[in-house]
Every structure is written in structure tokens, then in C-alpha cells.
């Protein structure tokens, strides 16, 4: 079964890979410098490494590391769940940091036997989780002071974004929001509970219109209509591939919802909104402002 996701992954994986293949001499050489050689598996971890100022030590990232743009120019080890042991070892890493998503398990075991320090950091959809990850990364990278400074900054930004949410939520009825992930026509999925999208909606003082469902599910037109969302939330990437808000609202069922009739579609960049990285406070402010704008007044 070759799905569109495979093809996408393939095209993004092959493009940077063919060049070193053509000139075998171009393969990464084992460096003997005293610096760390870090491979980051997980977009949020990559963002944190940049925030901690350790980007010079980065020698490889996974395919979810799309921000900052500079990270996309580093050697790409593929999607976090389909890593390859030899490919990782070819980067001669002294440290691999990964989220719990990383796999497959056999490859992790192969890395273990190769004695590469692999650190799997806990992933969750909580602000406190980001603080933990930042502290842990600070220890691993030998940058504890930078980590403390970053944590302080994040906590300050978080407090501000929380105030914004409280202010917005006080003035309005909480909007019912349906998150639609649509990266290919007819493959749209909607987010139930225990997803990053659900956690963001709760933080933003909104209600996930899709209740009683766990994880991401294929978009069922009738379920979307029954959910009766006031707003449809999407990712900018998904919106682009659907042909904008008009294209997204052409998906079966969405036009018949209150959000569809009023054309209320909000979109944020995927990793900013769902990555639970250092951009979380700013993402929350943006999200809450966009969701509450134009919501019906309670009073």
C-alpha cells in the first residue's frame, strides 16, 4: 500500500539524498573536533536547540524540523518514526535527542548497541512539558544557564498569553471549534480528544466541537455537521494544499456547519500550533485572538 504520505515523504527524502549519492566523496566525514555532534529528532526539540544557541552543533534533523528555515538545510534523517540506524551513524553523532515518537524500536536498539548516547525526551501537550524538555536539553547540551533564561522568558510569555485568553474568554461564549487536518484532497482528518489540537483548543478557552472521539479520525461529513462548529481550525500548510478557505469548505459536510455558512476559517502554521515547542505562547495568543474574534457576545 503506497499512500500519498509515502510519496510525500519519499520526495522530500530523496531530493537531499541523491546529491551526496552521486559524489560518494561528499558523504559526511567523521569529525574529530571537540564539539558535540547533535542529531535532533522532533521539530520542537530542533526549535529548542536553536533557542538555546546550540545550532552550530546540530549535524542532522528529522523531517518534522521545519523551523527555523535554516534547520531544513541540514542533513535530513527522515520521518521520526522511520529512522535508519546506519544513516544516523553516518552523521557520527555524539548525541541524539528524540521525542517518544522516535522509532522503529529495532533501530533504537541498534543505536543502543552502537553506544550512541540516545536521549528520548517525554512528549506531552502541556506547557509544563516544554519547561521540562528545555531544562533537560539544557543539561544534555551543557547549556543550563541558557536553558534557565529561556524557561524564564517562556514563563513570562506564557503568563501574558494566559491573561489574553482570560480577557477574551470573559467577553464571549466559548467558541466551538473543529480542527481539520487536510494535507491531501479527500484525506481530511478531524481531531478528537488526546490530540495536540485538542490541548491547544482547551488552552485557548475554546471547546473542541468533536467530543467522544479519541485521536485523529477521517472526516465524516455527518459527524462534522453534527459537531456544529462555530469556527473551523486548520493548518496553513493544509489550507494551502486545499486551495485556501474556499477549497477547505468544499470538503463534504463543512459548508453545512455554522462555521462554513459564515466562512469562519482560522489557520496557523502546523509546528507553531501543534509542535509544543518554544513558539507555544505566541501561537496561543494568535490562536485565541483569531478564535474569539467575532464570536457571539454572551451578554
Amino acid at each position: 500500500m503506497l499512500t500519498r504520505r509515502h510519496l510525500l515523504a519519499l520526495s522530500s527524502a530523496v531530493a537531499p539524498g541523491v546529491l551526496p549519492m552521486l559524489g560518494l566523496a561528499g558523504l559526511p566525514q567523521r569529525a574529530h573536533a571537540a564539539t558535540q555532534r547533535i542529531v535532533s529528532v522532533g521539530g520542537a526539540l530542533t526549535e529548542l536547540i536553536y533557542e538555546l544557541g546550540a545550532e552550530a552543533d546540530l549535524v542532522g534533523v528529522d523531517s518534522t524540523s521545519l523551523f527555523p528555515v535554516a534547520a531544513t538545510r541540514l542533513p535530513n534523517v527522515g520521518y521520526a518514526r522511520t529512522l535508519a540506524a546506519e544513516g544516523l551513524l553516518s552523521l557520527a553523532p555524539t548525541l541524539i535527542v528524540a521525542t517518544e515518537e522516535a522509532g522503529p524500536p529495532t533501530v533504537l536498539r541498534q543505536l543502543e548497541t552502537a553506544k550512541v548516547p540516545l536521549h528520548v525526551l517525554r512528549a506531552d501537550h502541556r506547557f509544563e512539558g516544554i519547561v521540562d524538555r528545555t531544562r533537560r536539553l539544557g543539561e544534555l547540551l551543557g547549556r543550563p544557564t541558557q536553558a534557565s533564561a529561556l524557561i524564564q522568558r517562556l514563563q513570562k510569555e506564557w503568563a501574558v498569553s494566559q491573561q489574553t485568553v482570560t480577557r477574551l474568554a470573559a467577553a464571549h461564549r466559548a467558541p466551538r471549534v473543529l480542527f481539520v487536518l487536510s494535507n491531501a484532497a479527500n484525506q481530511a482528518r478531524i481531531a478528537g480528544t488526546e490530540t495536540a489540537a485538542d490541548a491547544m483548543l482547551a488552552y485557548a478557552g475554546a471547546v473542541n466541537a468533536l467530543q467522544g472521539v479519541q485521536g485523529y479520525k477521517m472526516l465524516s461529513p455527518e459527524a462534522a455537521i453534527a459537531a456544529a462548529p462555530d469556527v473551523i481550525l486548520a493548518t496553513t500548510q493544509g489550507l494551502e494544499s486545499s486551495g485556501g478557505a474556499d477549497g477547505l469548505l468544499r470538503l463534504p459536510g463543512l459548508a453545512q456547519t455554522p462555521a462554513g455558512r459564515q466562512r469562519r476559517v482560522v489557520a496557523l502554521e502546523t509546528m507553531e500550533m501543534l509542535g509544543f515547542g518554544p513558539r507555544l505562547p505566541q501561537a496561543l495568543t494568535k490562536l485565541a485572538t483569531a478564535l474569539h474574534a467575532g464570536a457571539g457576545k454572551t451578554a
Binding site: 500500500m1 503506497l2 499512500t3 509515502h6 519519499l10 527524502a13 530523496v14 539524498g17 541523491v18 551526496p20 549519492m21 560518494l24 558523504l27 559526511p28 567523521r30 542532522g60 523531517s63 542533513p75 535530513n76 534523517v77 527522515g78 520521518y79 518514526r81 522511520t82 529512522l83 535508519a84 540506524a85 546506519e86 544513516g87 544516523l88 551513524l89 553516518s90 552523521l91 557520527a92 515518537e101 522509532g103 522503529p104 524500536p105 529495532t106 533501530v107 536498539r109 541498534q110 548497541t113 552502537a114 485521536g215 485523529y216 477521517m218
Partner: protein, 329 residues
């Protein structure tokens, strides 16, 4: 010879460059392992041996099925064997995950291969019973039952991928596209031993499979117990493909291409074709896996992508030949 040469060539390709000293720094040596030596001895060599064994198994299984069905389009997956393993694995991944059983790590590593093997064998048992119930002794009935079982097992995989979360979906994809990335020495040694045993079994079937080429009735006339031969052949095919699938997922088209290459090289005599098909299968899979390992460095592409990219056009060319022969007959 060609195989040894090919192994020596492809072992040089990979993400990590291998130096001559790495070859000498094997498991027997006390010297500290350089990165290259570790990759060569712990990752690449077992992987290449496993690739050879799996490719040879698929080629052999394909050659036996083609002789058995007297149909050059036959291959083990047509019997539903490969998808039977995939369905069992998919069910395990999605349903058992819901039970939250705490298994020790070693059990986890063996659980899926064992489940896949049981799934493949299970399909074979059902296949035997079904085809006997439907039309005893008929090879056409066996093939049609295989197709029906394949459709059913695919449906189970489909249902599981619908129920699966992202992590489980990835694991199911891994199984449906195939990968040799998990190779280690244990797997390689078990697979090579099994190939040796099953290969000698297949060898003893070869003469009778030759007689079968004349037709079921003619074979029965010269004193061959067709039912028995069929049972044994299907068992060998099932064991070979179940073992191959258990660790590496389903890798398509090798079982189809290898026997064809063999027939073109040494003719249709099964006794000469079987070893040749094994060799061809091993070489084809080596090429496919080397592409999978090296094209996207430092990432890796599922090997099933390449076997299908090479194999599917091949299948169409074969089909065109078959259709033309039918037209002129």
C-alpha cells in the same frame, strides 16, 4: 560466484564509509571498534546476509508456486500467505495495544515475527481446508481460494489501519512495504538455516513438479499423488514466505521476477530452475535493498518501494507476452 561478487560490491555502499581495517576489526578482534567496524559487522553484514536469505526464499517460493499452479503469473502472495502474515501483525498491533499488556522487551521483539508466521501458516491451513471442501484436487480452486483469502486479509489490514493511531499506522506501513533495516545476526542465521532445510525439501519435490507440468491428469497417470505433492509444495511455499515476511514485512514481486529470470537462463526444468531462481531472488533483493539503503542517506526508503517499482513494469511486460501467446494460440 556472481552472488559473492555482488555481496562484496554492495557491502561497500552505505551511509558510513568502510575502510579495509574495519574488515580486520571483526568480532574476534580485541581492538576497540571504530564506527566503520561496528557498522560493517553489526549492521551491514547481517543485513546483507539476511537480504540474500530472504531474496532466495522468495525466489524459491515463487518458483515452486509457478510450477505448482502451472502459471507463470503465480507467486506466494497470490495464495494470501504474505497478506495473512500482514493481517495477523496488524491485528496484534492495534488490538493488543488496547489491552496494555506489559511484555518484556525481548518478548516484544519476537512477538510480531511469531505472530506473522502464525498468520501465514493459518492462511495456509484455511486454504487447504477450503480448497478441499470446494473442489478436491483442483489447483484452480486452490488459486481462487488464495485470491479470496488475500482479499479478506487485506480487508483486515485495512480495518486495522483505520483503527490504528499514528504510531501503529507506521508499524503497519512498515509491514506492508517491507524493510530489512532490523537485521541482526540471529535473524540472518535462522533464515539461512531455514532456507537450507526448506531448499533441500523443495529439491526433493522438483522431479514430481516437473511431471506436473504435463497436467494434473498426466502426472497422476505416471503414478504421482497430486494431492500429496500439492500439500507438500504449499507447505514449503508457506514456510518460506512466512519466514521471510515475519521479520521483513511483505516484499512484493521478487517471487514473481526471480523464477522468470531463472527460466530464461536455464529453461523450464524445475530441477535446474529452483537453484537459479534462488540466486536471482537473492540478487534482485540485494539490488533493491542497496537502493533503499543508499538513495536517501541519512534516511532510508522502504525496500518494497523498489521491488515494486522494478517488479510492476516487469509484470506488465510478462502479461503482454502472455496475452499475445493466448491470441496466437
Amino acid at each position: 560466484m556472481a552472488l559473492i561478487a555482488a555481496v562484496l560490491v554492495v557491502v561497500q555502499f552505505g551511509a558510513v564509509p568502510i575502510a579495509l581495517s574495519d574488515w580486520l576489526n571483526g568480532p574476534w578482534s580485541e581492538a576497540p571498534k571504530s564506527g566503520g567496524a561496528h557498522v560493517l559487522w553489526q549492521l551491514r553484514l547481517p543485513r546483507i546476509l539476511l537480504t540474500v536469505a530472504v531474496g532466495a526464499s522468495l525466489g524459491l517460493a515463487g518458483a515452486i508456486s509457478q510450477a505448482l499452479f502451472r502459471n507463470p503469473m503465480a507467486e506466494p502472495s497470490l495464495l494470501g500467505v504474505t497478506s495473512g502474515a500482514a493481517a495477523a501483525v496488524a491485528l496484534t498491533l492495534t488490538l493488543f495495544a488496547g489491552l496494555h499488556l506489559a511484555l518484556p522487551p525481548t518478548a516484544r521483539l519476537w512477538l510480531l515475527p511469531v505472530v506473522g508466521f502464525v498468520g501465514a501458516l493459518g492462511v495456509c491451513v484455511v486454504l487447504q481446508r477450503l480448497s478441499r471442501w470446494l473442489a478436491p484436487g483442483s489447483i484452480a480452486a486452490l488459486l481462487l481460494c488464495g485470491l479470496a483469502l488475500q482479499a479478506m486479509t487485506f480487508a483486515i489490514v485495512g480495518l486495522c489501519s483505520f483503527l490504528a493511531n499514528d504510531e501503529q499506522l507506521r508499524a503497519i506501513n512498515f509491514w506492508t512495504l517491507g524493510s530489512l533495516a532490523g537485521a541482526n545476526w540471529t535473524m540472518a542465521v535462522i533464515m539461512l538455516t531455514a532456507l537450507l532445510l526448506l531448499g533441500s525439501l523443495a529439491w526433493r519435490l522438483a522431479g514430481r513438479l516437473n511431471a506436473l507440468a504435463l497436467g494434473e491428469a498426466a502426472a497422476a497417470h505416471v503414478g504421482i499423488d497430486v494431492d500429496r505433492l500439492r500439500r507438500h509444495s504449499v507447505l514449503v511455499v508457506a514456510l518460506l514466505s512466512a519466514l521471510a515476511v515475519a521479520w521483513c514485512g511483505s516484499i512484493g514481486f521478487i517471487g514473481l521476477m526471480a523464477p522468470h529470470l531463472a527460466r530464461q537462463l536455464v529453461g523450464a526444468d524445475v530441477r535446474r530452475m529452483l537453484p537459479c531462481a534462488m540466486l536471482a531472488g537473492a540478487l534482485l533483493l540485494l539490488v533493491a535493498d542497496t537502493l533503499a539503503r543508499t538513495l536517501a542517506v541519512p534516511a532510508e526508503i522502504p525496500v518494497g518501494v523498489f521491488s515494486a517499482l522494478i517488479g510492476a513494469p516487469w509484470f506488465l511486460v510478462l502479461l503482454r507476452g502472455a496475452v499475445r501467446r493466448m491470441g496466437s494460440a
